[in-house]
Amino acid sequence: MAQVVLKDLVKTYGSIYAAKDVSLTVNDGEFVALVGPSGCGKTTTLNLVAGLIPITSGDITIGNRIVNDLDPKDRDIAMVFQNYALYPNKTVFQNLAFPLQMRKLPKSEIETKVKDAAKVLDITHLLERKPRELSGGQQQRVALGRALVRDPAVFLMDEPLSNLDAKLRVQMRSEIKRFHQDLNATIIYVTHDQLEAVTMADKMAVMNGGLLQQYDTPANVFANPVNMFVASFIGSPAMSLVPLQATTVDGRTSLTSSEGWVLPLSDANARKVAAASSHKIVLGARHSTIKLHKSAVDGAVPARVYTVEPTGDITFVQAFLAGAILNISLPPTAQVAPDEMVWLEFDQDRIHLFDGETEMALRAS
């Protein structure tokens, strides 16, 4: 296993940046998820690491070698593809043996290694079958096996779960996580599903528009998103963002809405707002940090209920506030009806404030 370092990685197609100045370090044994919406550059970045597409500029280091100009076969990597890319004319055994044959290992050693890998993934009984005779989950395991059998420095995984049905996806999610723990493998994992990234990865790299937005542990990304994109992308349901105006009267800073209500800020939040580039402030709040009252309460702001979605253990409420829609989670016993007026109370210690111009999170200076 090895460390992977990306330094100022750039990939352009004509004048379009598919990846722009991506720098990050994947430590030995770490599970890193590249996550973002489609077209954000995450798959491009993975293919650059794999060597399947040439880089425009920057450096990729695997272990302690710069691999910029090496062929994929010489980078000591293994890859699991979205559609598994199993060789359809080969049996499972031959699929697993192929990477070893390409490395000219002796036959007896190939057999031992293939059988060991098959045992780890519980596919020993499938070795003589062809890929088309396998279920989606079994194909997924064979694809993992073909990566595992080589004992590579780094595992690259490109949306490996997106072709599975919902139930199997949850099961394979924990299997891949287990696979990572047991092997202490270095894994770079691409996904568009933030839930996969949050649940599986040690660290996540959130990308958008070819740019790396934030690279941190899932907990930190969740708790301290650096900008409005990360805030709205990570977490389900998404963080609610309400555009407001900052006003300071007699040294007291508040947020005011076009609807006329005023939300006084705590001192700590007032200091953050003071660092903003303009009066435009975006208030962010996660669904679980918003309190809902049925009547006016001091410090709460009025909103109108839009929809009520009971899910069993949690009831999600969407409400209109200052032209934005807020997600609020309530216990299933809550009685709320659409179009009802309610009052929302924000937890000053857990709200997020963003600069309305730069979209960056405001930090206390």
Binding site: A50, D71, P72, K73, A85, Y87, N89, M102, R146
Partner: protein
């Protein structure tokens, strides 16, 4: 098909059956239309010279004989020598054409399928352009060209010509095959330790075998049956291919109909055998890409 008619049967059995019977009658008619000349050829080939000329014609000869076949396959006999030489000429021209066609079409089709190079679309169109004109249009220009190249009266002129005509469709056929092989398989192979060429050799080639076989059959049959160019480019008797040879030697100078039919029958044997053995690949190649797998 089966499932459709099975589920619809209770509702509209009569209509479906009407279609089915109409279809069968049509197929029987087509079978007679295509098979009868072959049957007549075969039956005539086992008649004596006299029986073949009888009127009204006899379907089954009174005294069936294999004399014509013996004569044609006898290397001591001058007729046999000619026939065997023509057969050998045809075989060598067709086999060389086939090998070259596959050797050129495989890399060309792969390149058209996988690489993005300037002029790719134009070149692919240009490759197919030849098929828009009847082959005979090129007879005189190609003859002049072959004479200029000094290839008249050589088998090389035929091989080159057959390649010009066979390659476009061969490339087009194979490109469809490569288009249907996911590129990620090659990427996977390259990550698994293969060079680009090895990925092609070990992963892509085995998957395109049906296409290659179809291409080979197509080229072989085209070369084997071709008449006009062979009749124009070759004048020396010892170089003639079967279609021309049979026509000149058995229909111009003699009225040996059983001999002519026996030679024709033996000429069609390799094609029929080849096609029967490999037809499933041929059908697959022609329908490949018609549906998404």
């Amino acid at each position: 098909m089966t499932s459709t008619s099975a589920t619809e049967a209770p509702r509209s059995r009569r209509r479906i059956d009407g279609w089915r019977w109409g279809g069968r009658i049509f197929l029987v008619f087509m079978l007679l239309y295509t098979a009868l000349p072959m049957v007549w050829m075969l039956l005539t080939s086992i008649k004596s010279g006299f029986a073949a000329m009888q009127f009204p014609p006899q379907w089954w000869p009174n005294e069936p004989t294999l004399a014509s076949y013996q004569k044609l396959l006898d290397p001591q006999n001058s007729v046999g020598q000619d026939f065997l030489r023509f057969f050998w000429n045809s075989l060598s021209v067709s086999v060389v054409t086939t090998i070259l066609a596959v050797a050129v079409a495989v890399p060309a089709a792969y390149a058209f399928s996988r690489f993005r190079f300037p002029g790719r679309k134009f070149l692919f169109f240009a490759v197919l352009l030849r098929n828009m004109f009847p082959a005979v249009i090129f007879l005189v220009p190609l003859f002049i060209l072959m004479r200029w190249l000094g290839l008249v009266n050589t088998h090389g002129s035929l091989i080159l010509t057959y390649l010009t005509f066979g390659l476009p469709l061969a490339i087009w056929l194979l490109k469809g095959f490569y288009d249907n092989i996911p590129y990620q398989l090659e990427q996977a192979a390259r990550i698994d330790g293969a060079t680009r060429f090895q990925a092609f050799l070990y992963i892509v080639m085995p998957l395109s075998v049906p296409g290659i076989i179809a291409t080979a059959i197509y080229s072989f049959i085209g070369a084997w049956n071709e008449y006009i160019y062979a009749a124009t480019f070759l004048t020396k008797n010892e170089q003639l291919t079967l279609p021309v040879g049979i026509q000149r030697f058995f229909s111009e100078n003699t009225t040996d109909f059983p001999g002519l039919m026996a030679a024709s029958f033996m000429m069609s044997v390799p094609v029929v055998v080849l096609f029967l053995l490999l037809q499933k690949y041929f059908v697959r190649a022609l329908t490949e890409g018609a549906v998404k797998h």
